[in-house]
Each structure stands twice: as structure tokens, then as C-alpha cells.
């Protein structure tokens, strides 16, 4: 047998109070696609940070071998020199620079002291060819979609003669089309001899492309499975990831009545002055008490714009059409008005515009409804603790204390805090924008359970989601959006992945 291209032996990494990695062993064969799966907090990212030198040699115990040689990385530069490149979820490109400038950032081609732009562009074209990205290299990064930006990141890694390419949740922010393209590219790179390590929550993807899968749980290696022997299934992976088998990804919902109309949009439209175009046009939709309405569509189809335009229009679109809450026409000039009308909006990107990471759990939970805790102008901090502790228990938020800063919580628990925050405003209609993005199976199940409990109590939920199984598994009705319009409405019984996709790609 060949020496593995990468071997990590007995890696143990401790943070104050937590053992993030416990004697982890991880071995990757040359030229394979190796997937690393595990719940949030299982230690995947920490392991990759150890590998890429973010956690330098000496801060962990254990040994790393690349092609049989012991490595002592003191930073990302060292690991890059050894041929390891890591592409994070949050892309590390500079928006104001062009594609070719980004690819060659830090390795500029020069004639003496001056950058040789022509030569750089020429070489960029070759590299872009390899990743199948057909754009003008002089395009600025900010003018590209997320999917294409991801390809530029990979191109940048290829430029550095990468041997091991690590992708951390590369498809989390991509729509199905872009995801497929990316996976194809990884397979293509495999043919060219690049070894890839892929971290992903999307098990279907993992099953589609992996040669080998390693499962981490609670900082330990649980098993390494070979895809070629036919034993690898979603159920096997889930069982190993959670240490228990989840029979049903979606909890059963009790039969309940769907009540009167809670929210309705009539000929709703939005024009974005900054983009200079309509982001929404002729949108007609409604949601009833006790109903979950799914909104499906590809990235850029206008779903988040729809949510924001309803929720007090913070992006200042020029709106047209009418909005009715409980049968009465309403007008919201800012999010406060929407909250006062008992609307809530759990944002798509909790880190960017959902939560305050440098504040603690309790302050985040109470932020949107401080009035309720205020007595004669003063916040009752004792009541606040009671409220936060109740939320912590109701939603099973895993945190040592409600005074923990949000940034120290895992993605799933942050999302639960986000839910707790908006439940505290006691909404009638809740808009959930990608409620389970980037969180693990266990936490997903818990969030679905909470959603079911809420609609049973009569709340209305509008759920925007890019994950079709989620849309199908949770919704009573589905609207499909494309290019800022509603392309179709499907009842739960008639909706299938194929039908939704057909409508979603209908421009």
C-alpha cells in the first residue's frame, strides 16, 4: 500500500475547559476525495485548523505527516508550502480587486518592481479554464455570484500548486445548480491528481462524490468508511454522527386546523434604487394561522428580498402593492412597525444581521422586546435572566450559561438563540429565512420540532429554504419563486422536488 498523502496521528487539542480533539486519527490516500462529517462541534473545523497551521505546532499534541514527512506548521504559510490549501465557508477574496488580481494575490508576477498585468491575465485564463469558470479575469469579485467566487477561490488554490485541497462547507451558500457544478469540478480535479478533503453537512453530496468518509463525534474519530464496498448509506452516516439513529429527519406533526388568513400580499413589488431594477414583481401570497408556507427558489430568486420588504423594508426599496395583516391593510415604514404588528424575521445570515456575537445569550434574546422587561424606564435584569433561562430550557440551547458570549456557541445553538429572540416578541407570523443552514442534523430536528409546536399553537410560519427535502418535509403549501416573481403554488400533496425545480428554473 502507498504511503497516505496525509496522516494525522493522535491529534489532541485542548481549549480552556474543552477538549476539542481527543486522539484523532485521520488518514487520506493520494488522489481520493475524502469527506469529513460530523455534527457541529464535533471537531471538524478544529482538525482542519490544526492541519492548516492556524493552530501552530506545539499548541496541540500528536503528529502530522504529509507524504510520509513529519510537519511542524507554524502558520498558514507553512502548510501552503507543503501543498495544503483550505477554502473556508466565508470566502477570503477581496471584492474590489479583479479575478486575476485575487488569484495572484501574494504571488504577483512582476517585471522588476512592476506588476506584469498582461502575463498575469494570460496565466489566469489558463487556471480559470481548469476550474471551468468562464469570466473575464478583469471582472471585479464583487460583480460575481457566490458560486463563481467559490470557483475563483479554488483557482487561487490551484495557482499555488495545491496537493491537498480542503473545502469547508463549500456548498452551504450555493444553490443546487452551483452545487452540482462545484461537485463536478472536485471530481474533475481528482482526475488531475488533486486530493480533496470536503467537510459537509449535506450527506447526499457526500454520498455522491466521496471515496472515503471519516466521521467525527465529540472530538473523536468514530469510523472511516470506504464508499466502494456499497455499505455506505445516509442512515449509516447519521447513526455514526449522532450516536443514535434518526428514523425520521422530519418530526411528525399532529393534525391541526389551519385557521384564518394571517398575512396576505397583493401585487407586491419592490424596486431597488441601488440595483436599478425590480427585485420583486407581482407577488401574491398568503399564509394562515397554523400553517407553514414554504418558499422555494434558487439563490437570487428574490426570497430574502421578499422577507425584508415585508419586514419594514430596511433596505429601502420602493414598494408597490398592498399588505394585509389579519385582514387589515398595513404599512410598515421600519422593522419596528412590523414587530409591533407581531411579525418576526429570523434572518438568513445570523452572524451578519441576526445576532450580536459580542453580547451574551440573554442580551440577544431580549433585544427585540426590551419594553416588556422595562419598569419605569429601567430594564429589570433579574426578570431578564428568568426569561433567558426559560428560553434556554424550552429550546434546549446548549450553553454553559446565559452569560456566555454568542460567538462561543455552535451554529445550531446560535440559531436557537435567534429563534428564542423572535419568540420573545410573541409573533403571530414568523418568517424563517433558511432556518437550518449550516447546522447539524440533531439541531435541525430540534428546530423542526419547535416549528411544529408553534404552528400547533396557531402561529403562521413563512419558511424560506434552499433545501428541497426541508421544503417538502415541513410545508403545508409551497410557493416557488424565480426572478422576483412567484412562479407557482403547490400543495403539500402535489409538491415534489422535480416540480419545484421546474418552476424555480423557469425565468
Amino acid at each position: 500500500m502507498d504511503t497516505p498523502i496525509l496522516e494525522m496521528k493522535s491529534i489532541t487539542k485542548e481549549f480552556p475547559g474543552v477538549k476539542a480533539l481527543d486522539e484523532v486519527t485521520f488518514s487520506v490516500k493520494k488522489g481520493e476525495i475524502h469527506c469529513l462529517v460530523g455534527e457541529n462541534g464535533a471537531g471538524k473545523s478544529t482538525l482542519m485548523k490544526v492541519l492548516s497551521g492556524v493552530h501552530p505546532y506545539g499548541s496541540y499534541s500528536g503528529e502530522i505527516y504529509v507524504e510520509g514527512e513529519l510537519q511542524k506548521f507554524n502558520g498558514i504559510r507553512d502548510s501552503e508550502r507543503a501543498g495544503i490549501a483550505i477554502i473556508y465557508q466565508e470566502l477570503a477574496l477581496i471584492p474590489e480587486l479583479s479575478v486575476y488580481e485575487n488569484i495572484f494575490l501574494g504571488n504577483e508576477l512582476t517585471d522588476g518592481m512592476v506588476i506584469n498585468a498582461n502575463e498575469t491575465i494570460k496565466q489566469s485564463i489558463d487556471i480559470l479554464e481548469k476550474v471551468g469558470l468562464r469570466v473575464n479575469p478583469e471582472t471585479k469579485i464583487r460583480d460575481l455570484g457566490v458560486g463563481k467566487q467559490q470557483l475563483v477561490e479554488i483557482a487561487k488554490a490551484l495557482k499555488k500548486q495545491v496537493k491537498i485541497l480542503i473545502l469547508d462547507e463549500p456548498t452551504a451558500a450555493l444553490n443546487e445548480n452551483d452545487s452540482d457544478n462545484l461537485l463536478k469540478l472536485i471530481l474533475e480535479l481528482k482526475k488531475q491528481g488533486v486530493t480533496s478533503i470536503l467537510i459537509s453537512h449535506k450527506l447526499r453530496e457526500v454520498l455522491a462524490i466521496a471515496d472515503t468518509v471519516t466521521v467525527l463525534r465529540d472530538g473523536k474519530t468514530i469510523c472511516t468508511l470506504d464508499a466502494s464496498d456499497g455499505q455506505l448509506t445516509e442512515a449509516v452516516l447519521i447513526r455514526n454522527m449522532v450516536g443514535r439513529s434518526i428514523d425520521n429527519v422530519f418530526p411528525k406533526r399532529k393534525a391541526h386546523n389551519i385557521g384564518k388568513e394571517a398575512l396576505r400580499l397583493e401585487n407586491w413589488g419592490a424596486y431597488s434604487p441601488s440595483l436599478g431594477r425590480d427585485v420583486l414583481k407581482d407577488v401574491n401570497l398568503n399564509v394562515h394561522d397554523g400553517e407553514i408556507v414554504g418558499i422555494a427558489g434558487l439563490m437570487g430568486s428574490g426570497r430574502t428580498e421578499l422577507a425584508k420588504s415585508i419586514f419594514g423594508n430596511p433596505d429601502e426599496y420602493r414598494l408597490s402593492g398592498k399588505i394585509f395583516v389579519n385582514g387589515h391593510e398595513a404599512k410598515f415604514s421600519n422593522p419596528r412597525d412590523a414587530i409591533d404588528a407581531r411579525l418576526a424575521y429570523v434572518t438568513e445570515d445570523r452572524k451578519r444581521n441576526g445576532l450580536i456575537l459580542i453580547q451574551d445569550v440573554k442580551q440577544n434574546i431580549t433585544l427585540a422586546n426590551l419594553e416588556e422587561l422595562t419598569r419605569v424606564g429601567v430594564i429589570d435584569e433579574n426578570e431578564e435572566i428568568v426569561v433567558a433561562n426559560r428560553s434556554k430550557e424550552d429550546l434546549n440551547i446548549k450553553t454553559p450559561s446565559i452569560e456566555q458570549f454568542l460567538r462561543n456557541l455552535s451554529g445550531g445553538n446560535q440559531q436557537k438563540v435567534s429563534l428564542a429572540k423572535w419568540l420573545f416578541v410573541k409573533p403571530g407570523v414568523m418568517i424563517l429565512d433558511e432556518p437550518t443552514r449550516g447546522i447539524d442534523v440533531g439541531a435541525k430536528y430540534e428546530i423542526y420540532t419547535v416549528m411544529n409546536a408553534l404552528v400547533e399553537q396557531g402561529m403562521s410560519i413563512i419558511m424560506i429554504s434552499s433545501e428541497l427535502p426541508e421544503v417538502l418535509g415541513m410545508s403545508d403549501r409551497v410557493y416557488v419563486m424565480s426572478a422576483g416573481r412567484i412562479k407557482g403554488e403547490l400543495s403539500a400533496s402535489e409538491a415534489t422536488q422535480e416540480k419545484i425545480m421546474e418552476l424555480a428554473v423557469d425565468y
Binding site: P335, R336, L357, Q363, L370, E371, S401
Partner: protein
């Protein structure tokens, strides 16, 4: 109901104190550093530094910077900066001098008008920031230039304007009257001691009340011995300050103003929804906006408060000098910003406290005072203060990482 304790902190009682220490380490660090600096200067000046007279002077001198530091703290918390405060203070100080001496306005008319002018200036300065997203750096620098021009304009004909109004001059130089009930040994200021005692009693009553309230919720509290230790420590500090001040004229009006400003702003930032909203806007403006908080409204409020405090600072400074000069306000903004950063405010926004910035102001002012007493040349003083500023920020960053 179960008897289970709801624990906001760690469940073990003994670690509650450690947790508290760990969380506030940067603030405690500056406080300890302040005491260290005071001890060093006391030794190098053979006790002159810690004398009643010098401490009293030090507190009076820092008044006009301290109130600016309070406002600057809020401005930096919401991720902005205000470079106009020095010249605004200078201009409004000159305005008050003109109103008093040339227009013959009574002092009780001048003060509110100047304070309102301060608020209006702050609101005008922040309009491009709040409405159009112009960087505060640019907008306030422009405003600073305009205020500087305005200051030169109004003092052009006269140069320095001497202020003869006694009431006005008392703001920066006067002391609270004494109750001459009886004569204390060493001619100590009785009312100052009495106020110190009242503060101690209020503090203890409040602390016990809040502890009982927490107990009624079954929350974790400090264990009795630790709690008593805390009470004694704070009481000793208050008592010592009152004792020291009573040895030299007692509490000054400057100090009264600073304490009021600090008290009000500390209350607003820690106890009210407005305070929470300010920290939320600093912590994540987009999340705050979507939580129903108007970021532009908070921006106006914070800059309005900054304008008010600039006006107050200008009055205190002009009063202290008995005059308005053409260079008044020069560099105040640097001192206020430095005090805030030394006190642990983060330029990234959302982090910082009023009390921290006051400790920061005290550190910077102690350095000046101590080095003056030691006869250290001004050139070296600047270098030392710069070094302390950068050191404080470095330590702050290092301790913050561990949280």
C-alpha cells in the same frame, strides 16, 4: 416548583468571583494600573502627589476632559469617532464669554443656551453620518475645522476675553460651601465628609437590596464573606476620597458636575433600553436595525449627547481659566479619545463602559500631574503618555482574546 437554583453564572459559588474577575479583567486591570501609577508618583514625589491639595487639583483639572470622555465612549461604541469636540468646546466657551461680558446676559440664561447650542451642533455634525453614511471621521473633522474658524472669528476683534462673572467662574474653580456646624480638627470640610458618608450608606443599602432581590429569584450571589469584603472595599475607597478632599476645600463644583454626568450616563448605558440599543448598534448595526432599533436615531442621540457634553466641557474650561482664548479646545479630542481607549473601549464597536473611560481619564491625568510634580519636561511627558496609551490598548486586546 423545584428547589433547583437558576444559575446565571457558573454553578459553583466559589468560582462566581473568579468568573466576575475573568469577565471584567481588562477593566480591573486599568483600575489596578491606576493605583500602581498613584503609588509610584507618591513615592517619587515624596508624598506630594497624594496630598489633598494635589488630588483636588487633579480632579478639577480633569473635569473638562472627563465629560468629553464620557460622550466619546458612546460615540466609539457605535463605531464612530468625533474629532470636532475640541473646537466645539472652544467655540462654545468663547460664545458664553461673549454673551456674559459683551451682551450682558445673566449666567443662568447663558448656560442653557450654550448647552442647547451644543446639542444642535452635535445633531448637525451627525446628519451626514446618520442620513448619508458619510464616515464620521470626515464629517466631524470638517465640523472641527468650521468650529475652529468660528472660534477665531468671534475672538478676532478682542483676542482673549476675560470673564468676570463670579458665578460662572465658580463652575471651574469653586467648591461646595461647608456647613459650619462645628470646626473639625485640621480645618476639614465637614459637608464633604458628610456627603462621603451618605454615598457609603446609599451604596451599602443599594447593594444589600439588589442582593436580596437576586436571592428572592434564587440566583447565585457572592457568598456573605465575599460580599462583605466588597462592601468594605468600596466603602473604604469612597471614604478615603472624601477624607482626602475634606483636607483641601472639599468637593469642587467641577467634581459635582463630573459625578452627575458619569452617574446619569452610567445609568443610561447600563440600565435602560436606550443604553442596550446603543450597545446593540455598536455590536451589529444590521442586526440592531432588524430588531426594530433605528440606527440613525441612535446615531443622532449619541452625537447630540456628545454635543451637549462638548458645550459643558467648553464652559468648564473657560470658567477654569476665567477667560476664553483663541486656542481653547486645542487637542481636547485627542485626550478624550485616549481616555476612552485606555479605559477599554474597542474601536471595533459595541464594547466599552463609562466608568472604564473615567478610569482611563484618571490614568492620563495622573500621569500629567505626577510628571509635572516631578518636573519632567513636557517633551518626555508626551512620549510617556503615548507609550501608556499604546500599552493599555495592547493589554486590553490581549486580555480580551481570552474571553
Amino acid at each position: 416548583m423545584t428547589e433547583e437554583r437558576i444559575t446565571p453564572g457558573k454553578s459553583k459559588k466559589s468560582s462566581a468571583l473568579l468568573e466576575l474577575l475573568r469577565k471584567n479583567i481588562s477593566q480591573y486591570f486599568m483600575f489596578i494600573a491606576l493605583i500602581g501609577i498613584m503609588v509610584i508618583f507618591t513615592i517619587t514625589t515624596k508624598g506630594v502627589f497624594i496630598s489633598s491639595r494635589n488630588i483636588s487639583n487633579l480632579l478639577n483639572q480633569m473635569g473638562y476632559i472627563a465629560v468629553l470622555a464620557v460622550g466619546m465612549t458612546l460615540v466609539i461604541i457605535i463605531r464612530h469617532i468625533d474629532l470636532s469636540v475640541g473646537y466645539l468646546a472652544g467655540f462654545l466657551g468663547a460664545f458664553s464669554a461673549i454673551a456674559l461680558t459683551f451682551w450682558g446676559w445673566p449666567v443662568y440664561a447663558v448656560l442653557p443656551v450654550v448647552l442647547i447650542l451644543g446639542v444642535i451642533s452635535g445633531l448637525l455634525t451627525s446628519t451626514p453620518i446618520a442620513k448619508l453614511g458619510v464616515p464620521a471621521f470626515v464629517s466631524t473633522m470638517a465640523a472641527g475645522l468650521i468650529f475652529r474658524g468660528a472660534l477665531l472669528l468671534v475672538t478676532m476683534g478682542t483676542g482673549t476675553i476675560i470673564i468676570r462673572d463670579r458665578l460662572y467662574n465658580a463652575i471651574g474653580n469653586g467648591f461646595i460651601p461647608d456647613l459650619k456646624l462645628f470646626v473639625l480638627p485640621g480645618n476639614r470640610h465637614f459637608l464633604t465628609l458628610l456627603i462621603g458618608l451618605i454615598f457609603i450608606i446609599l451604596y451599602i443599602v443599594n447593594a444589600v437590596k439588589s442582593r436580596n432581590k437576586k436571592l428572592s429569584y434564587k440566583f447565585d450571589v457572592l457568598s456573605p464573606p465575599l460580599f462583605v469584603m466588597q462592601l468594605v472595599l468600596v466603602s473604604v475607597i469612597i471614604g478615603y476620597i472624601a477624607w482626602t478632599l475634606s483636607g483641601y476645600n472639599g468637593i469642587s463644583w467641577s467634581l459635582v458636575i463630573v459625578l452627575l454626568v458619569v452617574g446619569i450616563f452610567q445609568f443610561i448605558t447600563t440600565k435602560t433600553p436606550l443604553g442596550r440599543h446603543i450597545y446593540a448598534v455598536g455590536g451589529n448595526p444590521e442586526a440592531a436595525e432588524l430588531s426594530g432599533i433605528s440606527v440613525s436615531k441612535i446615531t443622532y442621540i449619541v452625537f447630540g449627547a456628545m454635543g451637549l457634553l462638548s458645550a459643558l466641557s467648553g464652559i468648564m474650561y473657560a470658567s477654569r481659566l476665567h477667560s476664553a482664548t483663541t486656542t481653547a479646545g486645542l487637542g481636547f479630542e485627542t485626550d478624550a479619545i485616549a481616555a476612552a481607549f485606555v479605559g477599554g473601549v474597542s474601536a471595533a464597536g459595541g464594547v466599552g463602559t463609562i466608568t472604564g473611560s473615567i478610569v482611563g481619564a484618571l490614568v492620563m491625568m495622573s500621569l500629567t500631574s505626577g510628571m509635572n510634580l516631578m518636573g519632567i519636561d513636557i517633551s518626555l511627558q508626551y512620549i510617556v503618555r503615548g507609550a501608556v496609551l499604546v500599552l493599555a490598548v495592547v493589554v486590553d486586546r490581549a486580555t480580551r482574546k481570552n474571553r
